[in-house]
């Protein structure tokens, strides 16, 4: 958002530097149930982003003072590995990862039936293995698949994707260059059954019309992500149904 470059992010034919059109998202790959020791897990690749999510619980909530006597709480930890970016990231929580942890757990709270597990806690761990813009969306996408994989009752699965603006064009699913040298970045997560928005942030500037167009693009793409998420979960079990075990 901040930097300046002579790079042409969108050429005259509307083609982006990685060969996508403005309304195309990066290739997405999702796999559910990749970890044995977590109650639920998922691995997501969106372009060059690589994200691993693990879910534990519902389990007894520690520390005790965080317990809610009427519903379960969702504790989310978003963490970037030191090797996830080209300049080594200093390990440990920082302002950015604390913020992302908070917004992701709030988005998930909207769909999980937390009132079924009073006093309990559902722990979500999101590890960014490789980052290339849009990790909060990839993290949330992975986390909701991991929650469903853990068998946690929830109203719906949450897909997330970003839209933004670079070189004066409204683009879907910004990559690193577009994010760094573009004008705006708008990550969005929705509940597909109702099209409610559970996560919306904006970094940068856009006109009202551009913003509306960005939302429209992102909501459409969220439904595509949702199909990939569902497919990943169903694949996990058709794999088990066929003769051999998956071990």
């Amino acid at each position: 958002m901040s930097g300046h470059t002579d790079m042409v992010l969108v050429d005259d034919e509307g083609m982006r530097i990685d060969g996508r059109t403005a309304e195309e998202h990066r290739p997405i790959k999702i796999e559910a149930g990749v970890l044995n020791n977590a109650d639920g897990s998922a691995y997501v690749e969106i372009g060059k982003n690589k994200v691993l999510a693990a879910v534990y619980g519902p389990r007894e909530c520690h520390p005790r003072h965080l317990q809610n006597p009427t519903k379960a709480i969702i504790q989310c930890k978003y963490n970037m590995q030191a090797f996830s970016v080209s300049d080594r990231k200093r390990p440990g929580p920082d302002r950015r990862s604390i913020e992302i942890s908070k917004i992701i757990s709030e988005a998930l709270e909207k769909v999980v039936l937390t009132e079924l597990y009073p006093r309990a806690s559902i722990d979500v761990y999101i590890e960014i293995l490789q980052a290339n813009a849009g990790t909060r969306c990839a993290g949330l996408t992975a986390a909701s698949v991991a929650l469903a994989d853990a068998g946690i009752p929830m109203r719906d699965i949450v897909p997330a994707i970003a839209a933004g603006k670079a070189d004066g064009h409204v683009l879907l699913d910004l990559n690193k260059e577009e994010d760094n040298y573009g004008q705006a970045d708008v990550p969005i997560a929705i509940v597909p059954s109702t099209d409610e928005i559970v996560l919306l942030q904006m970094d940068g500037n856009m006109t009202r019309e551009e913003f509306d167009h960005a939302i429209e693009l992102a909501v459409g793409a969220c439904h595509k992500v949702y199909d990939i998420q569902k497919d990943a979960l169903k694949r996990r079990y058709s794999r088990n149904t066929q003769e051999g075990s998956d071990e």
Binding site: R59, E60, L113, I157
Partner: protein
């Protein structure tokens, strides 16, 4: 209820999937949105009369009163024990709920940490406070044998249709087997037979979603334990 539909096509649903839009009632793990019944957990779609629900494939054990469970003592208080029964909440076993007369503060003389006990869930209240009891016929401390843990969603497969699987396991391996509703299974018998029984249970856990499970397990046990040992059981 699930047994009746076990032979129907197994359609796997994920949270948010529409189960029915023709006015059926939501059953287990289902909710209504805009007149459509949707799934709230990942599992197998299950229709029973005019309700449609989901049989979960995964998920933690939620105790209900009356369940027979196997638990491990994890903590001792002056007037109770804390038992791990695999639920998200601790299950206290009060001294009034054991078949012995225990003096205050004398709890560790009867059950210590690590002991395995067969219990019944007495009650679970709204805030999910669990009470368990050992005061019923057959409930006791378990000694010897071995403990197998499986996900509680697979318990119904280990028991089988009206107990067919579990009775076959018991007859063919000549073991004493107790299945707790929470997915803890106690197996006792002589070493080799118990080994086979444990392996068979693990196999059921792994292949819970495949058909013809009882026959396959039967085949498996027959290959491990020579036929003549089981003749007297009249198992055919």
């Amino acid at each position: 209820m699930e047994k009746r539909n076990a032979r129907q096509t197994r359609e796997i649903v994920v949270p948010g999937d529409i189960l029915d839009s023709s006015g059926m009632k939501p059953g287990e793990n289902a909710y209504v949105l805009d007149g459509k019944v949707r799934a709230s957990a990942m599992g197998v779609r299950n229709v029973f009369q005019n309700t449609v629900g989901v049989i979960p494939l995964r998920g933690c054990y939620m105790p209900t009163s009356g369940d027979t469970v196997i638990g491990v003592i994890v903590d001792i208080g002056p007037s109770n024990w804390l038992v791990d029964i695999g639920a998200p909440y601790p299950a206290p076993l009060h001294v009034n709920e054991v078949p012995w007369k225990v003096e205050f503060g004398d709890t560790s003389r009867y059950l210590s940490i690590g002991y395995v006990v067969l219990l019944k869930v007495l009650s679970v209240d709204e805030s999910k406070k669990i009470q368990v009891t050992m005061k019923d016929s057959g409930l006791r401390r378990i000694e010897g044998g071995r403990l197998v843990r499986i996900p509680h969603s697979k318990v119904s497969r280990v028991i089988g249709k009206s107990g067919s699987m579990i009775s076959m396991l018991k007859n063919m391996t000549d073991c004493r087997i107790t299945v707790g509703q929470n997915g803890m299974i106690w197996v006792d018998g002589d070493d080799e037979n118990a080994d086979v029984a444990v392996q068979a249970i693990k196999m059921i856990e792994e292949k819970a979603q495949s058909g013809n499970l009882t026959d396959r397990i039967k085949e498996f046990i027959e290959s491990k334990i020579p036929q003549d040992e089981i003749d007297d059981e009249g198992e055919e």
